[in-house]
Symmetry: C2
Amino acid sequence: MAINFDSGPIPVIVQDSATREVLMLAYADKEALRLTRDTGYAHYYSRSRRKLWKKGEESGHVQRVIRILVDCDEDTILYQVEQQGAACHTGHMSCFYRTIGGEEISGRVFDPEKVYANKGE
Amino acid sequence: MAINFDSGPIPVIVQDSATREVLMLAYADKEALRLTRDTGYAHYYSRSRRKLWKKGEESGHVQRVIRILVDCDEDTILYQVEQQGAACHTGHMSCFYRTIGGEEISGRVFDPEKVYANKGE
């Protein structure tokens, strides 16, 4: 299926394939999508850092991609994944761990200071 | 909670609150989000038509918003909704009705020609 990258990197919704929880939103360019399909692990394109990245390359919290869905306009995709660890850099399973009213709806799965700062120890 | 609209309208992931199926991706500006919160029905901002719209205003397939979640960066939101009819203008429940390989994973819930074209009859 042809994906429309005419306007640059496209949004990728990431969903846990088992629980169906929405984990995060990121972006992919053509190369990130190709690497995701070729390796079976989620890759993205960071618009702020202007570079390709593999989810979990630092934290180990990789995402094995079970299925990729495409929307009707072919300009948004959905990765259904098996999440190792947790998706959010804050330590929560999902980046969507708060309501708009500020209530936390889920706790931390890991301590981000241990995962990101003490990696070399 | 402060939502970051500095870069313009933000992505809104829309998920069925009961089945947890991801239904669509759209965008909201500050006004669309305000109307969504005030009315309890999903409103969006169309970047191509440059205007606010209410989901279902033509089709009747409105979305009652049960909960709004915010991501860690506060620049993406998630509407958990009760979907009337179906979310996709093609007649499928979700806009994500195909795999990237082109396989349809779900059938139509309604006939778009009847819903959109013969509305005045």
